[in-house]
Symmetry: C2
Subunit: 637 residues, 2 copies
C-alpha cells in the first residue's frame, strides 16, 4: 500500500537510460533558474527602504542612487559569472571552481556557504510569497507559517517527481510575474507622465534625516548591503549548467544575460515607483504580525485600488516566490551529491532515486527550510541578513578561483577575462565586507555599534545577524572534516591495493536446537550439507524436557553430535557465549550459528511465541567472526 501511495505522489520509476533526455532549453531554463534571482526584486527594494527609514523618511530619497549601485554590482557579477559558465560547461558552481583552482579548503567553505544559502533561499522565498498573499488577504495572516510549510512540502513532492514535469509548471508563473511587473511599471510611469508626480507628504519633525556625517555614511552602506539581497540567486545558473541542453555553456551564458537584464529593469522600476509614489515600508512584512509589502502598496497605488490588476500582481508575485524556492530544490541536491561524491557528506546524497533525482537531498532541504521558517515564524526581514554574507562569500571565492584559473591556463584573451573576474571578485568582496560590518549583529543588540539612538519599532523584528552564518559555516567545516576522515578510513581498510587474501579460516557450524520438530530437521539437514565441522547445541532451560529431547535426537540427528548445555539461570545467551569462547580459541576461527525458527502465517501469531530468536540474533550481531544463519520454517496456518 505504501508503494502505491508513493506511486501516486511521485510517479513511476524512470530508467537510468533516460537521464540525458531530462535537459532544458533556454526558454524553460530561464523561468526555473531565474525565478530565484528575479523574485528577489519582490523584497530587495523594501529592504533598502526599511534600512533608510531608520534615518527618517527624508532619507528614503537615497534609494534611487543605492538601487543604481546595486544594478552596477549586478552587471559586474553577471559578466563575471558568464565567464564561469562558459569555462565550466559541465557545471561551474563556486564549489567546483574553488576546488579546481584554490584547493579543497576554500571549496568546502564555498560549499558550506552555498548549502546554507539554498536552505535560506527556500525559507525566505516561501515566506515572502506568503507575505504577498497575506498582504492581499489579511485574514490569512495567522496561518502564514503553516501555509509556508505546506508550500515547501508541495515543492518537495514536485521535485521528487522529477525536473521536467516540474519545469513545465514553472514557466508560466515566472513569465506571468515578469509581465505583471513590466505592466505595473509601465502603467506607473505612464501615469506619472500623464498626471504628474503626486505631491510629497508635508515634512514633519520625525521625517527629518536624523543622522549626519560618518553615521549617515554607515546608514547608506547598510541600506546598500540590505539591497544586495537582490543578487541572491544570480549564481543559480552556474551551478546548474548540466541541466541545459547542449551546448550547455553558451546556452547558460545567454540565459544569464537575459536574466540580468530582466532583474535590473524590474528592480530599478520598482524602486523608482516606490520613490515617485512616496511608498513607506511596514515593519516586518511576512511575519505573523505582518503588514503589507511594498510591492502590494505600489500595485494598489498604480492600479488605483484592489482590482483585477492588483490581484494579478500579488498572485504572480506569490507564485514566482514560491517557485523561486525551486531553484534551491534543483541546486541543493546537486551540490550535496557532489559533496557526497567527494566524501564530505553522507553518501546517501549521491543516490539517484526512482525518478532520476537526488531524492535524499530534496527531502533534507525541505526539512531544514521548514525548520528555519518555523523558527523565524516566517519573518522575511529577520531571515535576510542570515544568509547575505554567505552568498557573497561564495561569490568572492568563486571569482577568486576564476582569476587564478586564467593566470594558470593563460588561454587566448586570458588577461581580459582575468580582469573581468578580478573586478567581480573585488566588488563582491567589498560588498561582503560591508555586509559583515553593518549587519554582523542584529541592530537591536547594539553590541558592536553603539549607535547614538535607539531603533524605533523595528528592533524586535530583526532577530539575528550575519554572525550566525559564520558560526554555521565553521560548524559545517568541522562536520565535513569528520565525515571525510571516516570515509577515507573506511576506504583504506577496504582497499585491495597490497591486499593478500588470508588463508580461508576454519569454520565450525553450530545448530541451536531448542527442541526437535519438523522445523529443526531441515536445519540439521542444511547444516550437514555444508560439509564442515558441525555440532548441535541444546541449551537446557527446563531439565525435565531433556530426556525426551535425547530420545527424539536419536531418530533425527542426521549424524550430528548433540551437546546439552546447562543454564542454571535460564539464560540462553550466557551459556552460548561461553561455549563460543571455548570453540573460538584460535584467531580468525569462524563460527556459523544456525538458528531454526518458524514463521507464523498471521502477524498476530508472533505475539504467541517467544522472541528469544530475535534476542539471540541481536546479541550475536556484536560478536566478531560469528555468522548468523536463519533457517525459517514457514507455517501454513
Amino acid at each position: 500500500m505504501l508503494v502505491s501511495i508513493r506511486r501516486v505522489l511521485i510517479g513511476r520509476p524512470i530508467a537510468t537510460a533516460r537521464a540525458v533526455q531530462e535537459r532544458l532549453d533556454k526558454w524553460m531554463a530561464l523561468p526555473i533558474f531565474a525565478s530565484d534571482a528575479v523574485s528577489s526584486t519582490a523584497y530587495a527594494t523594501e529592504e533598502i527602504l526599511i534600512a533608510l527609514l531608520l534615518a527618517g523618511t527624508a532619507a528614503l530619497s537615497a534609494s534611487l542612487p543605492i538601487a543604481l549601485g546595486i544594478v552596477f554590482l549586478l552587471v559586474v557579477v553577471t559578466f563575471s559569472y558568464q565567464q564561469t559558465v562558459l569555462a565550466y560547461p559541465s557545471g561551474g558552481g563556486a564549489y567546483l571552481v574553488a576546488k579546481e583552482n584554490l584547493g579543497i579548503r576554500w571549496a568546502t567553505i564555498a560549499g558550506a556557504a552555498l548549502l546554507i544559502g539554498y536552505v535560506v533561499t527556500v525559507s525566505v522565498s516561501v515566506a515572502a510569497g506568503v507575505a504577498a498573499i497575506t498582504s492581499a488577504f489579511a485574514a490569512l495572516r495567522p496561518y502564514a507559517v503553516s501555509l509556508g510549510v505546506l508550500f515547501i512540502l508541495l515543492l518537495m513532492l514536485a521535485n521528487l517527481r522529477g525536473l521536467r514535469e516540474a519545469g513545465f509548471a514553472f514557466a508560466l508563473p515566472s513569465y506571468s510575474f515578469m509581465l505583471a511587473m513590466f505592466l505595473t511599471i509601465g502603467w506607473g510611469l505612464a501615469r506619472l507622465v500623464i498626471g504628474g508626480a503626486p505631491p510629497a507628504p508635508a515634512p514633519t519633525a520625525a521625517s527629518e534625516v536624523s543622522v549626519t556625517g560618518l553615521v549617515w555614511v554607515f546608514f547608506l552602506l547598510r541600506a546598500y548591503a540590505s539591497g544586495c539581497t537582490a543578487l541572491t540567486g544570480v549564481e543559480a545558473i552556474s551551478n546548474g549548467v548540466q541541466a541545459f541542453k547542449p551546448p550547455e555553456g553558451p546556452n547558460a551564458a545567454i540565459t544569464m544575460r537575459w536574466m540580468g537584464a530582466i532583474m535590473a529593469a524590474i528592480f530599478l522600476g520598482v524602486t523608482y515607483l516606490a520613490h515617485a509614489y512616496h511608498i513607506l515600508p511596514d515593519a516586518g512584512a511576512g511575519g505573523h504580525g505582518a503588514g503589507e509589502t511594498v510591492i502590494s502598496k505600489i500595485a494598489e497605488t498604480v492600479w488605483g485600488g484592489r482590482g483585477v490588476p492588483y490581484y494579478f500582481v500579488q498572485g504572480t508575485t506569490m507564485l514566482i516566490l514560491i517557485l523561486a524556492a525551486n531553484t534551491s530544490f534543483a541546486g541543493f541536491p546537486r551540490l550535496a551529491a557532489i559533496l557526497a561524491q567527494d566524501r564530505f557528506l553522507p553518501r546517501q546524497f549521491w543516490n539517484v532515486g526512482d525518478r532520476l533525482v537526488y531524492s535524499n537531498g530534496i527531502v533534507a532541504l525541505a526539512v531544514l527550510s521548514s525548520l528555519l521558517l518555523v523558527v523565524f515564524q516566517g519573518n522575511v526581514h529577520g531571515m535576510l541578513p542570515f544568509y547575505a554574507v554567505g552568498v557573497f562569500l561564495s561569490f568572492t571565492i568563486s571569482q577568486a578561483g576564476m582569476v587564478r584559473r586564467w593566470h594558470r591556463l593563460r588561454t587566448p584573451g586570458w588577461r581580459r577575462s582575468a580582469t573581468i573576474n578580478g573586478v567581480g571578485m573585488t566588488t563582491t568582496f567589498v560588498v561582503m565586507a560591508i555586509l559583515a560590518v553593518t549587519r554582523f549583529m542584529p541592530p537591536d543588540s547594539n553590541v558592536l555599534f553603539h549607535l547614538p539612538f535607539t531603533l524605533p519599532g523595528l528592533g524586535d523584528t530583526v532577530r539575528s545577524g550575519a554572525w550566525l552564518v559564520v558560526l554555521a559555516i565553521a560548524g559545517l567545516q568541522l562536520l565535513f572534516a569528520r565525515i571525510n576522515r571516516h570515509y577515507v578510513a573506511v576506504a583504506s581498510q577496504l582497499t585491495l591495493i597490497g591486499y593478500q587474501p588470508p588463508p580461508a579460516p576454519k569454520n565450525t557450524v553450530i545448530v541451536l536446537v531448542p527442541s526437535v520438530n519438523r522445523g529443526t530437521v531441515p536445519a540439521l539437514q542444511y547444516a550437514k550439507s555444508l560439509g564442515q565441522d558441525t555440532r548441535a547445541l541444546h541449551i537446557e532451560m527446563d531439565p525435565e524436557t531433556t530426556p525426551r529431547l535425547l530420545r527424539e535426537w536419536e531418530a533425527f540427528s542426521q549424524g550430528i553430535p548433540l551437546l546439552v548445555l546447562e543454564s542454571p539461570y535460564r539464560s540462553l545467551i550466557d551459556p552460548l557465549f561461553r561455549y563460543l569462547d571455548e570453540v573460538q580459541t584460535e584467531r580468525e576461527h569462524i563460527v556459523t550459528v544456525i538458528l531454526p525458527e518458524f514463521v507464523p502465517s498471521r502477524w498476530w501469531h508472533v505475539l504467541l511465541h517467544n522472541q528469544s530468536g530475535w534476542l539471540l540474533k541481536l546479541a550475536l550481531l556484536g560478536r566478531k567472526d560469528v555468522i548468523v544463519t536463519n533457517m525459517r520454517y514457514h507455517l501454513k496456518e
Copy 2:
C-alpha cells in the same frame, strides 16, 4: 546500563535449583494470602450501608442481620474450600478443579472469571487503600489516582524481585491491621458497655424507610449481595497451595480456617460498631471527589478524635489494602502460567524469569489493573459490582467440580464431603443469582429495573454493572479458543509423529557483490568453503563502475563465477527476485544468499552508509526457501 538498572530494581538472577526453597510456612502464608480476604472488611460494611441508605437511614438497622448472613456464607465457603485444598495439595484453583471434574469448557470459564477477578482485586484494593489515606489527609484527594498507580508499580517491582523477600515485608502490616481492628472493636465495645450506646439521631421524614413489600426485599437482597464483596479473596489460598511448605494441603487448610475466623470477627465487629455508633456512609469514598470511609469514621468516633490510635487504624488499613493487591500478584501470574501451559494464553506467561517468578504475568497484571484504576478514577464503589459476579461464578464452578469429584472417586467419607461442597455450591450459586439480578445494570441506568424512585446523589458514582463482566468472560472464551487453535495447529505442523525427513534439498549459494573489497573477499572465501553450487551476483546500479569491478574480480574471484544483472530502474530487489525465480524453478530448491556488509566502529557512522543491506534482508525474509547469511566485516575505525 539497562542491565544494571534492572539488577538494582529486581536483584540478581536466582538459580532454577533454588525453586523448592522459596516456600512459605503458615505464619508467613497467612498475611500474604489472607490480606485480600481480610482487607475486604475495610469496605464490605460500607457497601451494605450504602445499599441500605437508598431506602432511608432507618433501613440501616438491617445491616446486622445481613452481616450475620454473610458470615454464614463465609463459614460455608471456608469449609467447602478447605476440602478443595486438602484434595488438591499441588494447587486447587477453580480452573484446575473444573478441568479435572467438569471438563475444559467450564475450566476456561472459571479461569476467565478468576483472571478478571485478580485484576479488579488489585484496582479495588489499591483504590480503597488510597481512600484510607485520603480519609485521613483530605489534601491528598486530588492525587488519589496517581498514588494508586504508583502503589501498583511498587507492588510489581516487589513481586518481580521474588516471593520470599516480598513475603517478609507483608507479614508485619497484615498482622498490624488485625491488631488495630481488634483493639478498635474491643475499645468500641468496652465504651458501649461503660458509657452506654450514644443516642440515635432524631428520626426525620427523610430517614423513614421509603419502600415496602417486594421492593424492600429487593433492597435487602441488594444490600446482601453488596456485602458479599467481603468474601472476595477467600479462594486465594486454594490457588496457591503450591506456595506452602509441605505438607501443603493440611497447612493450607489450617491457614484457611484461621483466616475465616479472623475475617468473621472483624467484619461482624465493624458492622456492629457502625450500627451502634450510628455511622452513615459518604457517597463514593475512594474516588476523586471522595468522602471519608466508614472505617475512618468508626475509628475517629471510638478513639475520640484523630489521635495516634486513629492514624494507626488508617495506616494499617492502607497497608493491608495495598498489600492485599499482592494476593493477585501471586495468583494471577500462576493462573496465567497454567493457562499458558494448557495453550489458552501466550506461552510467554509460562516463562520463569530471572528471579524464579512469572515475570510476564506480573507485568501484565500491573498494566491491566493500572488501566482499570485510571478508567474508574479510583472509585471503589463503582468497581465492586464489576467483579462480584465473576468471583461467585468461579466459587460455584469450583464447588460443582468438587461435588462431581466425590461422586466419581467415592473415597471414604465421600458423602459427607459431597454434602459440604454441595451446600457450598448451592449457596454461592444463589448469591451469584442475587448479584446478577440486583446488580446486573448500574442502578442509574434503570434499564432492567424501573425503580419507583430516583437514586439521590449516588447514581453517578456507579458507572457499570455486572453485565460488563459477563461480556468480558465471553470475550476471554473467544480469545482462549483462538489461541488454543493456533497452538494446536503449530504442534500438528511440527510433530515428529509419522514424519519422514524429505531428501536434503538442492542448495545454491549466491554471494551479493556490490563491490570488490577487503570485506567481500572473506565472504567469497566463506561461500567457496560451503562446497555447494556457488555464484556471485552484482546488481548494476551504476553501469560506469562495472568495468572496474570486472577487472578486480579477475584477481579476487576465488574461482566463483560472477553474474552482472542490469537494473534499469536502480532497484536492488527487483532484479534479485527475478533471478531467484529463475534459479528456484524446482520445488524445495533452497538458495543461500550471502550478504557481505561492513560494521562501522561508531554508531553514528551508520548514518554515513547506505542501508540497502537491511532493506534486502527485510525483503528476503518473506521469501520461502531462501536462507539469508550475513557476513559482517568489522571496521577498526
